[in-house]
Amino acid sequence: MTRRSIITAAMIILGAGLMVFAYFAGAAPWCNNAVECSNPRLEWSPAIFVAGVVIAFSSALYYSVAKDRRK
């Protein structure tokens, strides 16, 4: 497996992980619409979600542009 493939996969996993984390940090689906759950649990969690989206899609950029080095 090339270093390129490993880093690409890591970027996709990291991006997806950040999206999942940000979703649960932002959403409060078990909160029954209580007033205290009106705002995200973690401030800036939407920004983390967007960062996850950007990292995941940047993996294609890395995969295509990076120079290959075999392990």
Binding site: A27, P40, E43, V54, A60, Y63
Partner: protein, 429 residues
């Protein structure tokens, strides 16, 4: 006598780097349009939203979402077809459509930027809106999908897609001496047309296309959910909103793509790259989407008049026979006529590019009308509380901003055409 500009750019294809009189005139007109938009927005920023025709619902008898939000929906819709077509071309290796792939990707990026700007101009405090979306947006709200998937994910993935598919051409252009050579070298980022690199590119764009297709269905549906999930707003609440948004998005986007492809084909003399087969494919796709959307319209009308509540009745009356009837029936006609026109071409197998361009423009007028009718009537006529019927008419400021947005789109596409080949260059073996 050849100018310096001619000498440095005569090797670049498709008129890249060369400025014709017609192009300069086009760009000057677009720049004037942008200036009008900036002035309009400056007035709005200075005087507040009172400079627009928008007013509070109910108590002020107006609509808080007007043409700006209609245009958000419209521009995001236009972006749909571009990336869909581009992704389908890569996924199914549709050779005859490769000539329109890059312009489809460009159309997506430009339309998404315009959609994002249309949201910004709708905000009384744009900076506060931009910061707070990143800070407080809630995943429970359909706006979250619009903001995180449409404006961020969809725009970013489209940019990555456009960049990756343009790198081989950038590398080819970097080999020719021109004023733009440093830019192309940077753009190519060390691209070498080796077998390995091509295989990697194919793999990357394939998986990217595969990821983008479901993303854009989710993204467009979430935009439809912004309206369709509002149970307290008659006229909006309904299951058809999301699929209808996706289908009408395809209609407006394919219409735009046909117009742009025909324009590029003629102006850049690319008849050999953008053949009639490409228009035939786009025409059939547009026809299919139009008939599906018209089916939705019929179902929508039937549901709204069969046994409506009082408020639903008020909205359907306003749409079918009242204040908005001319827009409604005008929009329906603008979708029906091209649908049957395209069906006629499909049956007779005689595809006329000129007529298709006219149809592409007409369906876009119809799409703008339908977007306006999705947004406004439910606000002016859909009050559940005992408020009087409201009114909304866009102000001159709003029209100026709209001129600015459309002109900015023209400016970006026109600018790109002189910076980079808008039609993919033919691959050398």
């Amino acid at each position: 006598m050849a100018t310096t500009q001619d000498m440095v750019s005569d090797r670049l294809p498709q008129g890249v780097g060369r400025w014709s009189r017609g192009w300069l005139l086009f760009m000057a007109l677009a720049a004037i349009g942008v200036a009008i938009g900036v002035i309009g927005w400056a007035i709005e920023h200075d005087q507040g939203m009172a400079a627009t025709g928008m007013r509070d619902l109910g108590t002020m008898g107006g609509a808080t979402w007007g043409v700006y939000i209609s245009m958000v929906v419209y521009f995001v819709g236009v972006s749909f077809a571009g990336i869909t077509v581009a992704a389908l071309i890569r996924l199914f290796n549709l050779e005859h459509l490769k000539g329109v792939a890059r312009m489809a990707e460009l159309l997506t990026v430009v339309a998404l930027l315009l959609g994002a700007l249309a949201i910004v101009v709708d905000l009384g405090q744009p900076l506060r809106g931009l910061v707070n979306l990143f800070r407080y947006a809630r995943p429970q709200s359909p706006f979250f999908g619009t903001f995180s998937l449409v404006v961020s994910g969809y725009l970013f993935s489209s940019l990555v897609y456009l960049y990756l598919t343009s790198r081989p051409d950038a590398a080819r252009l970097a080999e020719s001496p021109s004023r733009l050579q440093p830019l192309y070298r940077l753009w190519a980022a060390g691209y070498e047309p080796t077998v390995d690199q091509r295989a990697r590119d194919r793999k990357a764009t394939f998986w990217l296309a595969l990821a983008i297709l479901p993303l854009l269905i989710v993204a467009h549906s979430s935009l439809g959910f912004v309206f369709g999930l509002q149970v307290g707003r008659p006229g909006w609440f309904g299951t058809l909103q999301a699929p209808a948004f996706v289908v009408l998005a395809g209609v407006s986007g394919i219409g735009h793509l046909i117009v742009l492809a025909a324009l590029v084909r003629r102006v850049l003399r690319q008849e050999h790259r953008i053949g009639i087969e490409a228009f035939t494919w786009l025409g059939r796709f547009l026809m299919l989407l139009l008939f599906v959307y018209l089916y939705f319209v019929v179902v929508e009308i039937f549901t709204s008049i069969y046994q409506p509540t009082t408020t639903e009745q008020r909205i359907s009356d306003a749409l079918l026979t009242g204040r908005y009837a001319w827009i409604f029936w005008g929009s329906v006609a603008a979708l029906v006529l091209p649908a049957f026109g395209l069906a006629w071409m499909a049956v007779t197998r005689k595809w006329r590019i000129g007529w298709m361009v006219i149809m592409g423009l007409i369906v876009n007028l119809g799409a703008i009308g339908k977007r306006y009718l999705v947004v406004v009537p439910s606000e002016t006529h859909g009050q559940l509380l005992p408020y009087p019927i409201g009114t909304y008419a866009p102000s001159l400021v709003e029209y100026a901003v709209l001129i600015g947005l459309f002109s900015l789109g023209a400016l970006l596409i026109g600018g790109f055409m002189k910076l980079f080949p808008i039609v993919e260059m033919e691959e050398t073996p």
